[in-house]
């Protein structure tokens, strides 16, 4: 308890309050200044001043306590300390991102289970005829990464402020800018991965989330874990309730009716008629071996039959979408995405590979073989088989964004 009648104590208390350094450091500085004041007072008394005047003169020679404390604080804010703090800040950011990712993943997955579970009960109780709902899986990944980035930012500002002996408010702007710029350079211009709209949005928003985490209100007391986000039990329960309700609402608005369901195989022959000619070649080794690179092979038995057919082609057509995922060829498609001539590999055996191009929007396709028969009509000889998916578009987020 500070004695309000003791000028020296008041002076030293004011200095201590203005230092805003870690408690152990501030305590030693105040102790040092207290010793100085004691020595100065003693010397001035020996020179003839009375005790009160000597003490006042000693404090006056040290100067204004606010100016003194600020000068001492600035003396501790060295460049070396700032660099060391930056290094620890990077580690703190990685730590925050790791735990933030885990926490968000666990929270979102758990609440999605509960929310969609409640939705199932609701559908059952109400006797609704539905085929399913959107599960929003890409959004879960995006939200996890954004929360991780935000928590990383929050950790970074706290650690950097504490270790550099600076106030969080004094460094929040440079930390947010530098951190967001560094993360943005990595996520938008450097990382080359399979891009899609959700992933690109995530990569562009990550530096924004980091900056938001840095800008969150931070404690003004250096020396503690300033601005650290702490979740209380009530806060966690509230978050669980909020997320569960959000999943429930999202599930409700994306319920899909059982009406208008596609019949399997209904659209198969929308492209070419099936041949009714005798001794039609049969397909062997037909199928989609890998995403984007189906290889098709057709065998003519007897091999001489090959001469009766011409312009044999392997074709990739847009796939029809259906509730059960198997709808054959898209009935509104007017032509194949890609086609390649079948080349005779050995007597009576023809083969072709389809190398589909990567596009920004992944295309679901079916592969088939067609050929012109002896009667001059193009027939469907094999397939459709699939659906397959066109190759992933690999590049940076910026390349994806700027590609037409």
């Amino acid at each position: 308890m500070v004695d309000p009648t003791d000028p020296r104590e008041l002076y030293l208390t004011r200095v201590a309050a203005g230092l805003q350094l870690p408690p152990s450091v501030a305590h030693e500085i105040v102790e040092e200044l207290a010793g100085h004041l004691a020595d100065a007072t003693e010397t001035l008394q020996a020179e003839g001043l009375d005790a009160a005047m000597a003490e006042r003169e000693a404090m006056a020679r040290l100067g204004n306590p606010d100016v003194l404390s600020e000068s001492i604080r600035l003396a501790h804010q060295t460049r070396r300390r700032a660099l060391v703090a930056a290094g620890f800040g990077v580690l703190a950011g990685l730590n925050g991102a790791f735990w933030g990712y885990l926490f968000a993943g666990g929270m979102l997955s758990l609440t999605a289970l509960v929310g969609f579970g409640l939705l199932s009960v609701l559908i059952s109780v109400l006797g609704l005829s539905v085929s399913g709902w959107q599960t929003w899986n890409p959004i879960i990944g995006v939200l996890m990464a954004l929360f991780a980035a935000g928590l990383a930012g929050n950790r970074v500002i706290g650690v950097v402020a504490t270790r550099s002996y600076r106030q969080p408010g004094d460094i929040v702007a440079p930390v947010a800018l530098v951190g967001a710029a560094a993360i943005g350079w990595v996520t938008i211009f450097w990382i080359r991965i399979d891009q899609d709209p959700a992933t690109v949005a995530l990569l562009f928003l990550t530096p924004v989330a980091f900056a938001a985490g840095v800008l969150l209100p931070a404690s003004r007391r250096v020396g503690a874990r300033s601005g650290r986000i702490r979740l209380t039990a009530r806060g966690i329960l509230g978050l669980v309730a909020l997320l569960t309700i959000a999943w429930l609402v999202l599930g409700i608005v994306t319920l899909r009716s059982n009406q208008g369901r596609h019949e399997p195989g209904k659209d198969w022959y929308a492209v070419y008629p099936q041949s009714s000619l005798p001794e039609v070649p049969y397909a062997t080794d037909f199928g989609i071996w890998s995403i984007g690179m189906p290889t098709l092979s057709l065998t003519f038995d007897p091999p001489s039959q090959l001469s009766a057919w011409r312009d044999l082609r392997a074709e990739a057509w847009p796939a029809a979408t259906s509730v059960d995922g198997w709808g054959g060829v898209d009935p509104i498609a007017t032509g194949p995405i890609l086609s390649a001539p079948l080349v005779e590999r050995e007597a009576g055996v023809v083969e072709a590979g389809l190398s589909l191009p990567a596009t920004k929007t992944r295309v679901s396709y079916v592969a088939l073989v067609s050929g012109i028969g002896p009667d001059g009509i193009r027939y469907l000889l094999a397939g459709p088989d699939g659906p397959g998916l066109s190759p992933p578009w690999v590049g940076t987020a910026w390349e994806w964004f700027t590609t037409p």
């Binding site: 030693e28 102790e31 010793g35 100085h36 010397t43 020679r61 100067g63 204004n64």
Partner: protein, 114 residues
């Protein structure tokens, strides 16, 4: 003659390093020693002494240790590190060059008018 305190600005680190170079001292002793060695001509503001001490310590030129004092509570004694010795020598050279330059321009040599 009393020296204008403005002239002392920037010299505090050199003065501090010089007196500490003779042996470890604590803050009040440093201020007293500077006053004595200047013959009472000047003394750096005590308010600028401790920021200078802490800055030199943070930069690695000084090392501070707490010791029991004869005069009562413990005191923080400061001593030069190898880096501090180097900084002292460099500061002395700079100051010497500076003073020579000032004397050449403003020293009492020749006539001042015409």
């Amino acid at each position: 003659m009393r020296v204008d305190p403005q002239l002392l600005k920037g010299t505090t680190p050199l003065l501090v390093l010089t007196v500490i170079g003779d042996g470890e001292l604590y803050g009040y002793e440093i201020a007293q020693r500077i006053r004595e060695r200047s013959g009472g001509a000047f003394a750096p503001s005590e308010g600028s002494l401790y920021p200078a001490l802490h800055r030199l310590e943070a930069d690695g030129a000084l090392v501070g240790t707490w010791r029991a004092s004869e005069r009562g509570p413990r005191r923080r004694y400061y001593g030069l590190t190898p880096k501090g010795h180097g900084l002292l020598a460099e500061s002395r050279d700079q100051w010497t060059s500076f003073v020579r330059g000032v004397v050449k321009v403003a020293g009492r040599t020749g006539t001042s008018n015409g």
